[in-house]
């Protein structure tokens, strides 16, 4: 039983991160209408920049905030002048441009921060707390806590804030949104800013649990994508978080009970089956 509990906790904390990535996917897909392949790279960019500012001597909270801002600016500029600029071209071109941006961010990280994995200091002094028979990494608690806070903030933004409402309007009907005075391009840039900011924050939160290395971005992107499809067929915001938790738990169970070699096979097999049987996701309508 304690083995299963242990698996569940690691699944939940990873799943929370996948949920955040999936959320970024959904925002960009709803507003711009493209798959955001660089989504996973935002996490690594966030972690790397935070590490850089930490090494420069900033305290952790300040370093994290500055890093998120830097990532948001870089990503917003890059995306605004590539993908958003050419969104009316055929979709195959758009897919390739998004892949290109992902490679570009990877390349920037490789050049700026080097080839070797780097450790990231944990947020709290105590590494592990004991709860009954379970050992829980404090960082996992941080990750889950930060995700919950982000979720509440997003709920507030989308339901109460004027920009959030405008963004929802854009994703429901761009033409109508434009007619009532919503600037579509601003909304598109804002959606990228939102997904980059969330990604970078999640990246900093999860960094202490593993090393930071430039080439795991694609893996994160794919996990987030699977989560977004599982939860709500790429369009549901709540579904994204639920899907993230499902993916995290599936992955943890596969690693725990089968083998880590084939975790991708299991996950992507599920993705393909789901794309066919329930393209609108588990929570979406048939």
């Amino acid at each position: 039983m304690e083995v299963f509990g242990q698996i569940l906790i690691s699944g939940l904390s990873n799943g929370a991160i996948y949920g955040v990535i999936a959320f970024g996917f959904v925002v960009v897909f709803n507003v711009i209408g493209t798959l955001n392949f660089p989504q996973g790279m935002y996490l690594l960019l966030g972690a790397f920049f935070a590490l850089m500012f930490l090494e420069l001597g900033l305290p952790l909270p300040l370093a994290a905030i500055v890093a998120v801002i830097v990532v948001v600016i870089i990503v917003a500029l890059f995306t605004r002048f590539t993908a958003i600029h050419m969104r009316h071209k055929e979709f195959s071109a758009l897919v390739l441009v998004m892949c290109g941006l992902a490679f570009l961010y990877e390349g920037i990280m490789l050049l700026a921060f080097g080839f070797y994995p780097k450790p990231f200091p944990a947020f709290s002094e105590t590494i592990v707390v004991q709860l009954g028979e379970l050992f829980i990494a404090t960082q996992s608690i941080w990750v889950i806590g930060i995700t919950v806070v982000l979720g509440i903030a997003l709920w507030y933004f989308f339901n109460r804030h004027i920009y959030g409402k405008a963004m929802r309007a854009t994703s429901q009907n761009p033409v109508a949104a434009r007619l009532i005075g919503v600037n579509i391009k601003t909304m598109m840039t804002l959606s990228v800013i939102l997904s980059a900011g969330l990604g970078a924050t999640a990246g900093i939160a999860v960094a202490p649990l593993s090393y930071v290395i430039y080439n795991v971005g694609w893996m994160l992107t794919m996990r987030g994508f699977v989560a977004a499809v599982i939860g709500g067929g790429l369009t549901s915001y709540v579904g994204a978080f639920v899907g993230g938790l499902v993916v995290g738990i599936i992955e943890a169970v596969t690693i725990g009970y089968v083998t880590s070699m084939f975790k991708d096979v299991v996950l992507f097999g599920i993705l393909i089956v789901l794309l066919i049987l329930r393209p609108n996701g588990l929570l979406g309508k048939r």
């Binding site: 897909f29 493209t34 798959l35 590539t82 600029h85 050419m86 071209k89 055929e90 979709f91 195959s92 071109a93 758009l94 897919v95 390739l96 441009v97 892949c99 290109g100 941006l101 992902a102 490679f103 570009l104 961010y105 990877e106 390349g107 920037i108 490789l110 050049l111 080839f115 794919m222 994508f225 070699m261 084939f262 991708d264 096979v265 992507f268 097999g269 993705l271 393909i272 794309l275 066919i276 393209p279």
Partner: protein, 324 residues
């Protein structure tokens, strides 16, 4: 149609002359270019004729390559049977995944094929009893037809290019046939296509099977030429490179493959020299080419030709057209 045969003949003569002039190392490069031509024809049929992105071309190559590698090495089957087996396996696989995933479109199809490529990658590295894992399969015999063993580079060079030319001619005729026109209609508008009685799914699945056959053949020939099969030959990066090269060459035209294949051969070498800058250049290429250069080198040549043509038209105010 005749001008296409003339063009092909010119390319063939140039290649034949090169086979006597070039040193062995350069001939090896040209063999790889011939094999890339085969894969790229498959990609052009799918991307150019149906307009959908396929990110698992390397998977088909891996199926062809590993298919023949496994049965020739483990069961001692003649290499020619092995290659046929690999190609048939590729076609069957294309049929199965085609029936499953081709009902998806645009982004969903792209990501499903990416997932297939990732699964392949994991299986090639992880299923050690079948694929040999990272160390791959070695000792694959060279191709032998009757008493003729294609052991030295010079002979294989001829074989590879003859197969590439046959494949190219097939694709050329395919593009002009009823089948090719139906595919282009589907690319233009699926609703219109099905309303005039084209069975969209059937045509798309058939196109994927043809694509799979080309890629599997290319992969099978490659492992027999190299004498070994490694997961690195068929990585996800390879799939991305194939797409990139197909677009750089010009995915809308079968001539593009002759321009794209050298790109595909020389890009990785170039990237190797770039070292740590490789990924950035790679990213820039993927961003800038689709933004400004989606019709590729063939498109560039066509545009130039049109410009020349316009100037010539100005000189003949009677409006006589020069195009034959």
């Amino acid at each position: 149609m005749r001008k296409h045969y003339v063009a092909l003949l010119v390319i063939a003569v140039i290649l034949a002359v090169l086979s006597f002039v070039l040193p062995i190392s350069e001939q090896r490069t040209l063999v790889f270019i011939a094999l890339f031509v085969l894969t790229l024809i498959g990609q052009v049929i799918f991307l150019g004729y149906t307009g959908q992105i396929l990110l698992c071309q390397a998977t088909f190559m891996a199926i062809g390559g590993y298919g023949t590698a496994i049965i020739t090495v483990k069961y001692g089957v003649p290499s020619i049977v092995g290659i046929l087996f690999g190609v048939v396996l590729g076609i069957i696989f294309a049929y199965i995944i085609g029936m499953i995933i081709l009902r998806l479109r645009t982004f969903y199809l792209a990501i499903a094929t990416l997932a297939i490529a990732l699964i392949t990658d994991a299986l090639l590295k992880g299923w050690i009893s079948l694929t040999g894992g990272y160390s791959g399969i070695t000792g694959i015999p060279p191709i032998a037809i009757g008493g003729l063993v294609f052991e030295n580079v010079n002979l294989f060079y001829g074989l590879a290019w003859i197969i590439a030319f046959i494949g190219w001619l097939f694709a050329l005729h395919l593009g002009r046939s009823r089948f090719g026109r139906a595919l282009k209609t589907i690319k233009g508008n699926e609703m219109v296509a099905s309303s005039v009685g084209i069975n969209v799914t059937k045509y798309k699945v058939t196109a994927l099977m043809i694509t799979g056959a080309y890629a599997a053949l290319s992969g099978a020939l490659m492992v027999h030429f190299m004498g070994l099969a490694l997961p690195g030959f068929f990585s996800i990066e390879e799939s991305f490179l194939i797409i990139m090269a197909a677009i750089l060459g010009g995915a809308s035209s079968v001539y593009g493959v002759f321009l794209a294949a050298p790109v595909l051969e020389y890009l990785p070498d170039l990237f190797l020299k770039l070292g740590d800058y490789k990924l950035i250049i790679y990213g820039l290429l993927f961003v800038l080419v689709p933004m400004y250069f989606m019709d590729g080198l063939v498109g560039l040549v066509t545009r130039l030709a049109r410009r020349v043509h316009k100037i010539r038209l100005k000189n003949y105010p009677s409006g006589k057209t020069i195009a034959g």
